[in-house]
Symmetry: C3
Amino acid sequence: MSVEEHTIVNRRGFLGLLGVAGAGVVGTALVPGNVGHGEAIAETRAFLAADAATATDGGVAAAEPHEHGRASAAAQTSTADDALSVDEMDAMHEASVRAFPAATAGLGGQPLPFVMDGDVKVFALSCQVVQWEHAPGAFVEAWAYNGVVPGPEIRVTEGDTVRVHVRNELGQSTAIHWHGLMLPNAMDGVPGITQAPIKPEGEFTYEFRIREGNAGTHMYHSHYNSAFQVTKGLLGSFIVEPKDAATRPAFDREYTIVLNDGPIGAYSLNGKTFPATQPLMAKLGERVLIRYMNEGLMIHPMHLHGMPMLVTAQDGYLLPQPYMCDTLNIAPGQRFETIVNATDLGVWAFHCHVLSHAEGPHGMFGMVTAFIVEP
Amino acid sequence: MSVEEHTIVNRRGFLGLLGVAGAGVVGTALVPGNVGHGEAIAETRAFLAADAATATDGGVAAAEPHEHGRASAAAQTSTADDALSVDEMDAMHEASVRAFPAATAGLGGQPLPFVMDGDVKVFALSCQVVQWEHAPGAFVEAWAYNGVVPGPEIRVTEGDTVRVHVRNELGQSTAIHWHGLMLPNAMDGVPGITQAPIKPEGEFTYEFRIREGNAGTHMYHSHYNSAFQVTKGLLGSFIVEPKDAATRPAFDREYTIVLNDGPIGAYSLNGKTFPATQPLMAKLGERVLIRYMNEGLMIHPMHLHGMPMLVTAQDGYLLPQPYMCDTLNIAPGQRFETIVNATDLGVWAFHCHVLSHAEGPHGMFGMVTAFIVEP
Amino acid sequence: MSVEEHTIVNRRGFLGLLGVAGAGVVGTALVPGNVGHGEAIAETRAFLAADAATATDGGVAAAEPHEHGRASAAAQTSTADDALSVDEMDAMHEASVRAFPAATAGLGGQPLPFVMDGDVKVFALSCQVVQWEHAPGAFVEAWAYNGVVPGPEIRVTEGDTVRVHVRNELGQSTAIHWHGLMLPNAMDGVPGITQAPIKPEGEFTYEFRIREGNAGTHMYHSHYNSAFQVTKGLLGSFIVEPKDAATRPAFDREYTIVLNDGPIGAYSLNGKTFPATQPLMAKLGERVLIRYMNEGLMIHPMHLHGMPMLVTAQDGYLLPQPYMCDTLNIAPGQRFETIVNATDLGVWAFHCHVLSHAEGPHGMFGMVTAFIVEP
């Protein structure tokens, strides 16, 4: 089978699908805050079903007589996996992918509404203990801002004055650090150094002006008993848009990926674990801004299949010399901004390349999602 | 409360303090080798006391009636922390900060004196087993150069010829590798490859010329049974100043931070663990050179609150394009040089952002210090 | 002893050796695929023997009367190493170095032959379970392409069309992901997303054109049960040469280092653990291209003694601003290309600087090799 045949087979399934799913809808399905999760789920499932069908029906492998036979080589299987037969393992692998993107209750990282008080943008965050569904049927106790993990996204512009009312409904004291922002010391959110801890049922109001030069991808999270509270979910993205958009690389749509390796399903992207992670969708030819932030305790080198990323900013600061890569190592506390040109159609795996954070004998899990490029 | 009120409250405490502590003294208190630890301790404690008072008395939180009440939400507390009540946990968190910077016996990283033998700078290092106090009252067995962890700083200039007499008073053989220096192979310090091991009670003399082009932040450490000996404390900084200072970024004062995660208190900065770590002090407007080196076995992404760093050199080599960040990931063996502009007054937390290296239910510990900017 | 004397002593041993070993042969001994392992082993052993003799006989240490005496400080030795006497530990350290480079059965990473089918370069890979000798006498079960770890190197040129026949002789399904290559989605090798798994005794044919702009250092590896299959050995290098060599930095010879931390001896370079790792050899003045790729689950900051590296490409993409370092942190999934100028004669240690991956009380092991510069 030539490259051309492969491509034709692939396109047939791919385009055929689009006829069903309706290309018009997909385009903006996952721009945060635009559309519900449900649409994206239905659409992505259709994509994957078509893709898998392509692979099974039209792929080279299907022509092989032994393709589905149990090999005599089975006796060589390592002890570690002896409990599963080949077909059982395949079925589990397939089931995890088929379930993607799985519906779960709760969606973090959506824009946090604000009200204006004169020139001040006023936000409110409540720290709560909730039951969080990170994968279908998998609930864990999360410590969350406004009930979601990650907390809602705070998005403002250079020069804005921001006020955030924080109420603590946890069983421990807490405080919020605005990681990456330049602000008056008293607003930095470190109990014992810049403020008293916010006791249970206590409140605190943070207020600061976003300085020019501080645009980019930042975070907010607990700075009290933080190894526990942050990884439990008290974290969120704080995006500062530039006053002049022309000062930063142009893009057609954007996504933010919050990495965590805490108690919430161990390895999560935006508070969800595969297959409940959200896919990133793009139309062919679009420039997609992907923001990363690591709120966990381990490195996570994120690998995008199929297309490289241009790394344009680190910790919010524009790199004087952007560089290309396909695997971006993100350490705890770091943020990166990258631009991906959606040059290639298809469903592209996108995952942490510490493979034990992404796949086991039972299939993919944890820090896995897909970058989906449609016509 | 407006931003202006916040700032005023903060400044009142901050400036009030300075009247007490005497601003004139602080300025050079922690320039290595200039002044004793005691002055810095007294001064920093006063800073922190004032700061905390500000937060408690003047902060927004104090206006809330429930601020100090025990919340009914306590029942939601995770099992992991059930052993501590809210007030107990708060008290422990506060105590660790109040103790900072805590006095301990021994201070590593101070300049190693030398004598001239003709054109040669002659240093002496003795490898010894000592009891090392990394936090108040916390003594561990350390393997140390000249009795301190990190070993004394060796500081020379490009073009110098350096001779180092090493005497082994340990119970194991050892050898010293000059990590980052370009030198004759026989001086590289790897037993079995470039020399015989230095047996207990044995000696060895290293001698080499510092090449032009080798300026920057380097290290010396054991290269024998090294996973054990280095993390136990056989490590130190080796700074090569450029012949022409104009070839490197200008700065007003400098600090070196040696990261380690070995037996010495697990997570240490310059051989001490919080609250016994030394603060970094600066006057408003100064440019501060911070050198990092990782002598441990894990990554440590160091996060400075409040102000970004300009990363100017890696492993001693000037970066052709310095870049900005606020969280710098440092892997074992790596060194970085950064410049921080001290633009903002206050006591700024400064810690490893692998949060489990910095804070637990009992408060901050390990790889935590503060960057203190005074008027 | 002056620097000059040191240098003379060193040179005497070093040059004396070369008279024995024959400098002419060494030059190309380890260019992959040129010469067998045996020659390199004999030669390198001779180098090391001469070097060690130099250190013992002519070094400063030998002049010390207590050099070989058991120190009274022995009682201070930490419990962890009490089981070994000084001489026992020294003997074990020396033995591991003397054995280097130790002969073992099997050598991975050699060029994979291909046949032309019209314009298509056709390769074949068979996935097999083998017993793999990673260190002398240390056999482990490996999952391997064509029986070797790493799998054979696939090396092609921008613009080539590549076809790879894959046959699965394992007891689990599998699939191959071409990590770093831009290709049609159906060829990306992710079961459930882009193809069906390749069942035991099944086959699959991948075919794709290597795009212009995709030159550099890439990888191929399993993308099925991958945390297990990749670390077990289903991995290899995929090198894309540029159509125009002038577009990339010039070099005189090259090496590829595949990092792994899986079941194969825990910490391996190109499927071998020290002392069975292969040395990198160079002639004085040569420019050596060293390619790194991390197929493991942990970071590995590789430290080259004696000479810095110029980092020229990341994940195959040329850096707009190459930078210098001596310790390069490589995260799982990342690749780097570096140029080392072989400016200094000798046997230079070259190892992962997570020291616990490289040395223990019994001497060096795991991720250690040497960079050997000869006249």
